[in-house]
């Protein structure tokens, strides 16, 4: 059973690859002004957990991190 998660994005690190928004457009967005990541929701629910983790791993600059509700950070190394 996946745990509830909280997503954080680091817009300074974001390189604007569009990867997150192309895979999970309900969760991520991209600013028209600077091309960087925006969050549609920080708590997408347990259903999306696996997909979000996939995006965390693929983000080229490690700009996306997730934190499980029990506060244990599952940040991509």
């Amino acid at each position: 059973m996946e745990m509830e998660m909280e997503i954080r994005v680091d817009r300074d690190r974001c390189a604007g690859s569009s990867l997150c928004v192309s895979y999970l457009p309900d969760v991520f967005d991209q600013s028209d002004d600077d091309g960087k990541v925006l969050l549609r929701t920080a708590e997408p629910g347990a259903d999306a957990a696996q997909a979000v983790r996939g995006v965390v791993t693929r983000c080229p600059t490690g700009a996306i991190t997730v934190r499980a509700r029990d506060a244990q950070e599952v940040r991509d190394a």
């Binding site: 390189a15 604007g16 690859s17 569009s18 192309s22 600013s31 091309g35 960087k36 996939g54 080229p60």
Partner: protein, 416 residues
Amino acid sequence: MAPDAEHGRREEPLMSKPINTAAHIRRNGIEPPPELARISAETPLVQVEAEGLLFSGRHWLATGYDEVRAILGDNRFKMLPPAQAKLGGGGQVEVGNLLQYDPPDHTRLRKMLTPEFTLRRIRRLEPFVAEIAEDCLDALESAGQPGDLVRTFAVPIPGLVGCALLGVPRDDAADLARNFNASRAVANFGNRIDDRERERQRAAGNAFVTYMRRLVRQKRRTPGDDLLSMLIRDHGADITDEELTGTAATLMGSGIENVGGMLALAPLALLQYPDQLALLLDRPELIDRAVEELIRYLSSVPNSIPRYAGENLRVGGHLIKTGELVMCSLLAVNRSQLPGVPRDTLDITRENSGHMAFGHGIHHCLGASLARMELRIGLPALLRRFPKLRVAVPPEEIRFRTWTPNYGVDELPVAW
């Protein structure tokens, strides 16, 4: 030697014997040489002697998933050689080419360009690209069979997209294309061309860049609604004309080399795997996954731009010393090392392979979304028009561009 399971935890740097190989540069048609997967499994980071190749002399070769991610994700590995570097790059730095910049200059230029390549902007170009693709297919069809897919389809699509992005007047496109084509392969890995040919290529390359320089000056005087004009309008004081010229030349050049390469390699791969081609014809909704899988499988940029260690750096237990050069084989990772790809077959139903064909880290391909879109539009248009497409020469006569940084074919005669 068995792979080291304790990456990065050793006190003493691993000492492994340099190997003599060109496996990261060679190919067998669309397949990597079998040796490459073995190197990944046994020595995911290793020193290589490769005389007469890209860089004569010893350099590091990274072929492991963790190693490549660690190197490309670490900005202490630099694009420009530090003073201590033993091996030089291609010579002169190209002003405006993002792949020759390190932070903070890289950050400044990339920031200006990123908003021009958002997914939303790219999607707005779809109808235009569809129109171009149909025009190219009309030309191919009316010229009769066999026709060269490279010259009439694969190269003109990204070429015309580039012209539209940069605001190149339609009347200038043919001349520009001629010069660009004549300049291709200047960056040949080996010394495979004679001096006269090299000089001819250099002259054509100069004419191409000179055109871009004139275009930039013209956009400064009378801006339009193209990418160059927007850069000038929004950041005109923070970017020089030479940087704009280099940016324009790089965008056009990498579009043609990379997307152009893929628009010929992708149909070729599908023709070599008829079950996958049949599946795509039967289920066109698979196109997004198919494009992603073809990008992984073909990895048309087999190696990332070489990086130089800006200081002594440890990766996977090895010590890479200041100034040493590292090649990262994206092809090796994508074809044998991805955790999400247990079996390396061309499978257009595959989801989320996690490939690194567009690189990793701050230099992740700026045009990735544009490249994906051109493939997503171009490939189905081709297959719809010619459902019985076939290669019109025996496989051994297909001329692959093995010695260039971007893999592709010189020409691809097709019939239908």
